[in-house]
């Protein structure tokens, strides 16, 4: 897995697993603190939504986009 992927996996933010996966290879926590705001760091470590909730949210979003296109 490359570093670029891990940095962008989470909607262009780092994957929430990144700190753990890279800790043996570099000072990852310092890197994250240097490159992301406090708000972004909070967002990174938020657990993903439960699957069914994500699906319903995505359906609503896609329906709205379809309506706009129609």
């Amino acid at each position: 897995m490359n570093f670029l992927f891990c940095r962008t996996e989470n909607n262009m933010l780092p994957c929430r697993w990144m700190a753990g996966c890279w800790q043996g290879h570099m000072e990852i926590l310092t890197f994250l603190e240097d490159h992301y705001t406090k708000e972004e760091l909070e967002q990174i470590f938020v657990p993903p939504k439960p699957k069914i909730e994500s699906l319903v949210s995505l359906v609503e979003k896609a329906k709205k986009a379809k309506k706009r296109n129609d």
Binding site: L4, T8, M12, G20, C21, K49, K51, E53, L55, V59
Partner: protein, 454 residues
């Protein structure tokens, strides 16, 4: 002669799935709609799933018939074998009787086709021509591609681009079964185009692949979407494993004292133990133990809280009660594949809270050590997820050695690890490390959880 394999005749294959919702002492807590805050209803899921699956999602009927046309497809690999692990028992020098139900012998190599074929069948019956889905490394995409080939449904798989480029074998399998596999982000959807415009070399993510698959399903009348874990109807389809196993254990004149399985999205283990747990609920087998195994580095059930957790940092309405380690949990390195998935199946969380199942967390080096022992005794190279079960089952067998008890242990074995050899390589070369999440960190993460009345 020691009997090692218990094969069920195809004419005895179960004809119904078992629905635990009929027997739950307390119903599942509702899932709420993110927009309205009201329970999610059939109309919310209709753009994605056929009505028959939506009915199954909320059904409280105990038995749901498996259509004959689907049974015919199941019969291309089912019933799967129940094995008695005599060689492992001897290696452990235990009086315990160890059985395992192995789901790795079908065309796609895992338990996933049990639901992939069912979902494809119901879509086909309702006139759906195409199904979209997302896949990371490709296990689910493979199962659905196989199912599409069986039922003549076109499958489109959005595969995370980095996996598409770097892990081609499952992609080639999907294409061999006739699926269209595209790297995500793709130019086929607005979500993909927006990303490619901003960043042409984007390596993709599972979240983006889901967005693309859902967007395409919602925007076309002939297309639906399919998911391979977590949802109630997915676990329902998997119960054919446990129903078969009940008959096979009867052939072996045995009944499990302990059932061991790993929990992530819950589909394999749920399918295996739900058919047994009705005996515990009814009081017929109150002492049977059902053990869920999870990684010590991500101890969601063993050390998490069962609560409504906000899904995002801006604090929108919490929608689903589940086990969580809280927002501050920073996951450590782990090589257990799907077991680091956050979204535990709601049914399994609920059964744990009701005290009907227990949970154990194990370290990953011990997990792979067990996988190696199993490979060298029973011959199967096990996927990283079910290796957790092997470890816990071996621990229970060794307790029997100490106590002299000849308990019967049943292992849910979801499939082989032929596409996961990199994790074995890390173990064999001594590069895997254990990590236990510190208790103070767990407490800190949980202290930051929202205060919401349950």
């Amino acid at each position: 002669m020691e009997k090692t394999i218990y094969d069920l005749d195809q004419k005895d294959m179960p004809t119904h799935w078992y629905n635990i919702q009929a027997d739950l002492p307390e119903p599942l807590p509702p899932v709420l709609h993110p927009g309205t805050g009201k329970p999610i209803g059939p109309e919310d899921l209709a753009p994605l799933f056929p009505m028959e699956l939506i009915k199954q999602e909320v059904s409280t009927e105990r038995w749901i018939e498996i259509p004959e046309e689907l049974q015919a497809v199941y019969r291309t690999w089912r019933p799967t074998r129940l094995h008695r692990a005599h060689r492992l028992e001897k290696a452990l020098d235990t009086p315990a009787k160890i059985f395992f139900k192995y789901e790795g012998t079908n065309q796609a190599g895992s338990h996933k086709p049990n639901t992939a074929t069912a979902q494809c069948y119901y879509n086909m019956k309702e006139g759906i021509k195409r199904i979209t889905t997302e896949t990371g490394a490709g296990q689910w995409g493979s199962a659905l591609s196989l199912a599409g080939a069986f039922f003549g449904v076109e499958i489109k798989v959005y595969m995370v681009r980095i996996s598409y480029d770097q892990k081609p074998y499952r992609r080639i399998a999907m294409e061999t079964w006739g699926a269209k596999c595209v790297p995500s982000p793709s130019p086929d959807t607005k979500a993909g185009r927006d990303m490619l415009e901003k960043w042409p070399d984007c390596p993709g993510s599972l979240g983006l692949a889901i967005s693309e698959a859902v967007e395409e399903a919602v925007s076309r009348d002939d297309t639906h979407y399919s998911l391979g874990s977590v949802l109630n109807h997915v676990l329902l389809h998997q119960t054919i494993q446990g129903e078969e196993c009940r008959k096979q254990m009867e052939m072996a004149d045995a009944y499990p004292d302990i059932i061991v399985g790993n929990i992530g999205g819950g589909s394999n283990y749920g399918g295996q133990f739900l058919p047994w747990i009705r005996d515990k609920i009814s009081g017929a087998k109150p002492d049977m133990r059902v053990i869920c195994c999870e990684p010590e580095s991500c101890p969601t059930v063993t050390r998490g809280l069962y609560a409504y957790d906000f899904g995002d940092s801006v604090g929108l309405t919490p929608l689903l009660k589940m086990h969580t380690l809280g927002h501050g949990f920073i996951p450590p390195p782990i090589h257990a594949g799907g077991l680091r998935y956050h979204g535990m199946a709601p049914i399994i969380c609920h059964l744990y809270e009701l005290g009907l199942v227990e949970a154990v967390a194990v370290h990953q080096t011990a997990v792979f050590e067990a996988g190696i022992k199993f490979a060298r005794t029973e011959g199967i190279i096990t996927g990283p997820e079910p290796c957790h079960n092997l470890k816990v089952a071996m621990d229970e067998a060794l307790k029997c050695k100490e106590s002299g008890e000849a308990k019967t242990i049943l292992i849910a074995h979801s499939g082989h690890g032929h596409f996961d050899l990199a994790a074995y390589e890390r173990y064999l070369s001594g590069k895997l490390e254990d990590y236990a999440y510190p208790e103070e960190e767990v407490k800190k993460a949980q202290a930051e959880m929202p205060k919401v009345p349950a």
